[in-house]
Every structure is written in C-alpha cells, then in structure tokens.
Symmetry: C2
C-alpha cells in the first residue's frame, strides 16, 4: 500500500459514517527499486478531499487518508532511482500511477490514461487488493515517475497547492497558449481561480477577474488581476463582449456559463476546470456565431507538473495559504465549504501526532 | 433593393399571416459598378426558409422572397467587375454583404462580421431603408464580392445546396483539418448531414454515419459512409468510445449531445452546425476527462465558399436533390418538416411564372 497510516485523521473520524469504526493500522508498502520514501512536511486541503471524505461521488474507499497536495523531503530511494537524493524537496500531486503504455501516458498526459490512472488516495492500486493513502500523513511511498522536484526558493507550505490547484490552472493556460498580448478572463476566485490569476499574470497576459462578488475585486488585483469584471453587471458584461482570448472557468459548482461565452473573441475557448458533471443548458448560438468552443481540462501530466513547478520557481508563484494544525481539520472543512478561506488551507504535517 | 420581386411566391402566400396581404411589386436595384445581375436557374430550399417564412426566429421582414442557395448565369456586370462575363455560371449563398472592415471580414470570414452581415433575404441592407430579397426569383443583383463561380462540370440543380448546406459542412471539416487517417462521425442524416458525409469522404477520412435510424444506414453507405453507428444501440456506442477524431453534429433540433462526446478521442472536437439555441444540459465530465471540446460553426466565408465549389468541382460533389416546380413549394415545406426529402428540394426557377 501506498502511504503509512497510523490512526485515522480527525477529518476521517468526524466526517464519515464509516469513520466511526475503530481506528485501524495500515502498513506502508516497502520501498521498491523505483520508489521514493518521502517525509511529508505540508499537505494542501483540496475541496475534493471533502467530497471524498463524504463519499459524495460514490467512489470513496475506507479507511481513507485524504491529501494530494504533498510537499516533503526524500528519505530514501530505491536502487533504480538515480536523480533524487535524500533531503531533496519533492512533491506528489493527484496521481501516483497510470498504465504507462497507452498513447496518453506515452504523450506524458497520464491524467488522460486510457486504462485509468491511480489516484493518490482512496484508489485501488494496480496490484490487485491494494488501496492508496494520501498526504494527511507523516510519510508516503511513491513511484519515482509520479514524484516531482520542488524548487527550494518556494515557501514549502505555499507550494503545496501547486500540486493540484496549480497544475489544474497552469495546464490549460499553457495548452491554449496564453501569453503576452492576450486578454484572459479567470471566472471564479477560489483555490483554483486565485492560482489561475497568478499564473496568467506571470505568463504575461492581461488578466481580468470575472466574479459575481464585487468585493473580491481588491483581492483579485493584489493577486495580479489587471481588471475586475462583475458578471452580475449586465452593462459591464455587454461592454466586454468579444474581448477575451481565453476564459478559465474555475467555478466549482453547476452554473449557467452561457453568458460568459459571448465575452470570447471568434475562435476562442472557455475551458472548464471546476464544475464536473451536468452543468447548464448549453446555448449553441455563441458557439455557432463565432466558432467558439467550450472545453474541459483535468489537472496535468507529470512532465507538465514539473514544468509548472520550475515556472513557479522562476516567477515565485505560490498559493495564498492558511497553515493549519491537523486538529482543526474539521473546522477547516466547514470554512472551506463556506468559501471562508484565502485561498487554500495547508496542513502542517508536524502537527500530526 | 437586392432582387426583383413580381408577386409573392406560393410559400409566402400560404405560410404567413402577413402573406395574406395583397401582392406587392418590388423593384430590383440598379446594377451598380461592383454589382452582378444574375438570371437564376435553380434555388435550393433550406430548412431555415421555413423558419423565416413562419417568423419562428422573430427576425423576419415582410414582404419576403426566401432562398439562399442560388445558381444562375451572369447577365451583366458593373464597370468595376472584371473577372465575370455574361453567361458565366455563378452562385449566391447566405450572405450578400458585410462591413468589409472588421478583423473577420479582413480574414475572409464574413460570416463572423463584427458589425453584422447582410443576409441574402429578409435582411436590412447597409443602405438604410432597404431590404434584401432572395432566390425564389427570376433574377438577383449582388455585389461581386458575394458572388462565387460555379464549376461547369457540376449539375446546376444539384450544386445549388452547396451554397448553404455544402459550405456549412465543408468549412468545419476544413477548419478541424479532416483528412486521410482520421475517423469522422457525421451525426444526423438530412440536408446538412448528407453533404457532411460526401465532403468528409471526398477529403479522404473514414466516415461513420451516426444516426438514430438504423434504416438510414444503406443510404448513408451509398453517400460515402464507411460505417453506420446507431446511436440508440448502447452497446455499439460503448464499443465506439474514444474512436473519433472529429464529430460533425448536424441534428437540426435541440437534443442531448452528451453521449456523443465520449466517442471522441482526447483533445478532439464535436462541432455543432444544426441546432442553434438552448440544446441540452452540458455534462462537463467528458470534456474534463479528455480535454474534449464542443464547438460551433456558421456557414463559411466567401473565399472558402469558392474553395468549396472548386473542391466540389474536382471531386464531383453535389447534393442529392429533388427538383420541384415552384407551385409545389408549400407541399415541399410540409415534406421537409417531416424529413421526407432526400436530401434537398431545389426549385426550378423556370417554373416561376
């Protein structure tokens, strides 16, 4: 199995019916020849952790150790791992394995693995019978191919959310070639949105924060937005029609996205990274009348995650975080559910007893 | 004004409340220096003609002469027209004017004109107070820039639908680079769909007709489809997941398109050209899980319409048509509404008294 687990975290203990079972002990797997054993320093708290703990998606396996925004230092490596040394700062994101043979894996896009990737926690391992356990934990053992190097100049706690929120926004910005001379709209200012603003800004684009909440404007500017567009202001929306080269839609819940489409120039794309599942009735008129597209994007591959971290190191891009004691995780979950966090909780794993 | 109009067509007289007004006489505009006067031989009957006659879209202006799939021969040209001669076979499609200055017009994409194009009929002219009149008519006067040359080897009646159904399907196939080695699905077998099959086949792609009606399979094969996929066959649909490089969705009415999305490979597109307006609840999961996109496309620009006709000439691609007498137009509208046409009605304008 994929990570050590000594006792259920408070999150697990409080949030799930199955969590009321007695504590269980889980052994971490031995460090294989291609593996890396990491001492975890920090782990980000992703909104999906809450969904997984509550089994909102019907795919949770218990017992569970959540956490897929992991920052730590190498303890030991297997014999075949030649490019990581003990003490080196590393990260682990959403994936710890994939088939490694399909076209997507060969294209370094493990997140689209045709045979299905292995999530960092609550996911069956490719060896039958195993289950993965995540980063709310002292240590983790991960195959070298799914470990990334984290630049030493980045604050490690603030770097943790790069492993999920960071790559989820960086990847579509790169894929749709965001750069200088482009006007990019980031829709929604949460964990993903605030990273989208920072990355798009660092890439040299003109960044417009598109939000329903006018009061978020000041903070968006601090993060790197050049402008704020309040989406409930019909006049401002009308005045912005056809202005945007790319829209990154980070709203995490079903919502009517059609009004945003007319903001795009001809032949441009809105990419949805937040709301997964049925969302709203698609009005095809803005698509047909300007050859516009609606797309989706899922995290990023391991190669691109490394590139993202290197980019973040060069541009000193990290998340805005609130570091918490593991004992307060349930409170943090409640606040996250109420969007009362700027913009990511990160667990100081030293507080894990 | 843009075309002659002697008396309301039967379609007009029977289908609209306002058509019960007395006949009116409309003078065609004088042939200006950049204009072409065309004797119309054939005019295709597009499904949108029916919507316009019935004012389904609330944008119809009366009196109306429908028709935007026009084939005819040059009678005279204005002094500045140097590349067309009397007797030459020409075509007029959906557009007869645009601003000619915006980025789209400069990119030869007049169909996305930022200031709004002028439709071939029932559309205000750029000179205030004028109205355009279409191809159910003996003659039409059109600016040279909006007239295309029609290869003489093509059957003129069967070539008429190329001006709308043809370019509407050709343009997205070219834009998304359809060619040999690709598997293309054409969804829906009507006026647009049958042109999509023919063009995709002529471009060298493997063409799969995707239809709800198994009985359409034989005809689809005759038109150039290599395979037929019946979309109501859940097993066949599941077996086709991830097979397609491009989907051309020609279904003309609101419909749930989400099941088609999983047919696409990673990073591939379904382009909607039929159903305009609210369509169905968009499920973002197939988009996010494979970076797939939903797009739209509108007819094509004039330059591309000429390229399409040249391509059609080289590959002998025309529509399957049923040539009708104008006196039967209302019956034809009824049959078109019941999808009882293979695959396009074309008016023999010689029958117009």
């Amino acid at each position: 199995m994929n990570s050590p687990f000594v006792k259920p975290t408070p999150a697990f203990a409080a949030s799930s019916a199955r969590a009321r079972l007695a504590p269980v002990t889980i052994e971490r797997r031995a460090v294989g020849p291609r593996d890396v054993l990491i001492d975890i320093d920090y782990c980000g708290v992703c909104h999906s952790d809450l969904h997984m703990v509550n089994n909102d998606w019907g795919m949770s396996a218990f017992p569970m150790v959540p956490g897929h925004e992991i920052i730590g230092r190498v303890v030991t490596t297997g014999a075949e791992v030649t490019d990581l040394v003990p003490g080196q700062r590393t990260g682990v994101g959403c994936l710890v394995d994939s088939c490694r043979q399909c076209e997507a894996c060969e294209d370094h896009l493990e997140q689209y693995c045709a045979k299905g990737f292995t999530l960092t926690y609550s996911s069956p391992t490719r060896d039958p019978g195993g289950l993965t356990f995540g980063g709310y934990s002292k240590q983790i053992v991960v195959d070298r191919n799914y470990v990334v190097k984290v630049p030493e100049n980045l604050d490690p706690a603030a770097a943790a959310p790069l492993l999920c929120a960071g790559i989820t926004t960086y990847s579509p910005l790169v894929h749709w070639k965001v750069g200088p001379g482009m006007t990019v709209g980031v829709i929604g200012l949460g964990g993903l949105g605030h990273m989208g603003v920072k990355f798009a800004h660092a890439m040299g684009a003109r960044v417009v924060m598109i939000t329903t909440s006018a009061h978020k404007g000041e903070d968006a500017r601090r993060l790197g937005a050049d402008e704020v567009l309040v989406s409930s202001d019909a006049q401002a929306m009308a005045a912005s029609m056809g202005r945007f080269d790319f829209l990154l839609n980070t709203i995490p819940v079903p919502h009517d996205f059609n009004a945003y489409m007319m903001l795009l120039k001809r032949d441009c794309t809105m990419c949805i990274v937040g709301a997964i599942g049925p969302t709203a009735n698609l009005n095809t008129a803005p698509l047909i009348m300007g050859r516009r597209t609606v797309a989706g994007s899922l995290i990023g591959g391991l190669k691109e995650t490394q590139e993202m971290l290197d980019f973040a190191g060069r541009h000193n891009v990290v998340a805005d975080v609130e570091v918490i004691d593991i004992a307060t995780i349930n409170e943090a979950y409640g606040r996250m559910q109420r969007s009362d966090v700027k913009y990511r909780f990160v667990i100081d794993v030293a507080t894990l007893g």
